[in-house]
Amino acid sequence: MRVLLATDTTSNKRQRGIPRRALHICLEIGVPIVLLAAWFISSQRSSNPFFPPLAEILNRFHELWLFDHLHSDVVPSMSNLVLGFAIAVLLGVIGGVLLALMRPIAWLADPLIHFWRAVPPVALVPIFVATLGYGNETRLVSIVVAAVFPTLIATVDGLRSVDSGLRDVGRAYNLTFSERLLVVNLPAASPMIMAGVQISLQSAFVVMIASEMMGTSTGIGAMTLLAQQSYASADMWAGILLLGTIGYAANALFEMARARILSWYFKAQKQGAAS
């Protein structure tokens, strides 16, 4: 009886949920379109050199990014972002696990980690330019270093705050070390880890752009800065539009991946809130 009741309420919720979700999607797509339209119309007769008409910006957007500079500038930026982010997440999780396992080392490393975390990621870029020069490695290393800390710290915190009840289950049933790590502790910490990974993604994105604004001439960031310096306002705005789109898309992809990976967590929370 109780089971029937429970499924009844969830199906009711779902029925109310569908239009709400549709509305959400409409707003997500509709609001930017309305804003763009407003921008388009209001800027139509703009003669301000810093705020050219949107029509002109879109035109430049088309000429520059579709697909003239796609290969020369967009692809390198994107591959740096993806590669740097991936390495940072991997290092962050592995490092976090090691630090969480070895308490004494964690005590030693803690102040250092928090010092580096407190430094704004962009401020690290000059260090790497000075030590590694202006090559692509510099950009990649900058992204990795900036993006690794949020994931690392979240992993350590997540593993430390695993519920003692779940730990006891692992110990009482003599689970092996790898089972305890992979089946109990990491999944239990995963909501926290994913929150860190999201911040890592944002840091990686910021540093991807910042690293291209120093000394290099390729990449979306470099193109945008160059456009600004040569008073090509429309080009600059086109670059900003592209960066915004990429950032938005990256975050949306991340949210989708997280919803999949943590589906148990979100559903359990929803269930908890409902009962």
């Binding site: 009840g165 006891d168 289950v169 003599n174 089946v183 109990v184 148990w264 559903k267 269930q271």
Partner: protein
């Protein structure tokens, strides 16, 4: 006070039923304290008791007396300060492979990212049973606790009573010699509690398991037990070990209606009141 009569009548019975069986769990002079120096807190002073194979023993005592501490010591999760605990004569050092645990708080003992079936399978993975044996154990465990249909459900899709059944099924599939439960039915409703108590009796019957239940519910202790270990005082000592015997099989209706049931319950209640 009819204490003597309970003891004498049931003691004869218990001797017939269990003392000819080997001692499965023995606790001798167990003491446990936390911390050291000034901040040292002595929780358990001296506990000794024995549980024979196939017996159900309930450990009762006022709240805060250290029942859960005792249980964690038995489960090998906490080291003892003094004395010893042994299963089949082997001293418990670290979690024994022959023991399975059912925790009080089911919401903190099942992994929410695993289905009921995967949760039950978790302790079996390292036993390397082979696919058929493992699957048959999982099916059987789910069947016994009445959740054959719910194996693919996640814990948060199940009611509290059903979640505790999953935790019990997990312990069953592990096929322990000793099943230890920490206030297993404390956070489920009264109806479900009766069902789970009967499930517990059923399991003992079907699997000949030795079961140790920590509980603060005196009625539950009397209903389930062959032996009640009453602990009290701070730090804790054994106040009395009370054998319990009723006509078998027990039933929620007839057993609880027996005059001997009321007597045993009154007696235990008095012991606990005194022990405060």
């Amino acid at each position: 006070m009819s204490k003597a009569s309970i003891e004498s009548s049931s003691f004869a019975n218990i001797q017939a039923r269990f003392t000819n069986r080997p001692v499965r769990l023995s606790v001798e002079g167990l003491a446990k304290s936390y911390g050291s120096g000034e901040s040292r807190v002595e929780v358990i002073e001296d506990l000794s008791f024995e549980v024979h194979a196939g017996e159900i023993a309930c450990i009762v005592g006022p709240s805060g007396v250290g029942k859960t501490t005792l249980l964690k010591c038995l489960a090998g999760l906490h080291p003892l300060t003094a004395g010893s605990a042994a299963i089949d004569g082997r001293t418990i050092q670290g979690p024994p492979a022959e023991m399975a645990l059912v925790f009080q708080d089911y919401s903190r003992s099942l992994m929410p990212w695993l289905t009921a079936r995967q949760n039950i399978r978790l302790p079996l993975r390292h036993l390397k049973l082979g696919t058929t044996e493992e699957a048959s154990r999982l099916d059987e465990a789910l069947e016994v606790v009445g959740l054959a249909h719910a194996g693919s459900k996640y814990p948060w899709q199940l009611s509290g009573g059903m979640q505790q059944r999953v935790a019990i099924a997990r312990a069953l599939a592990y096929r322990p010699e000793v099943l230890v439960m920490d206030e297993p039915f404390a956070s489920v409703d009264a109806q479900t509690r009766f069902e789970l108590e009967d499930l517990c009796l059923q399991i003992r019957q079907d699997y000949d398991m030795t079961i140790v239940v920590v509980t603060h519910d005196i009625d539950e202790a009397v209903y389930l037990s062959d032996q009640i270990v009453v602990i009290g005082q701070k730090p804790a000592i054994v106040t009395e070990i009370l054998p319990v015997s009723f006509p078998e099989p027990r039933s929620q209706f007839s057993t609880r209606a027996l005059p001997a049931f009321a007597e045993a319950r009154t007696h235990v209640l008095q012991l606990i009141q005194q022990a405060r």
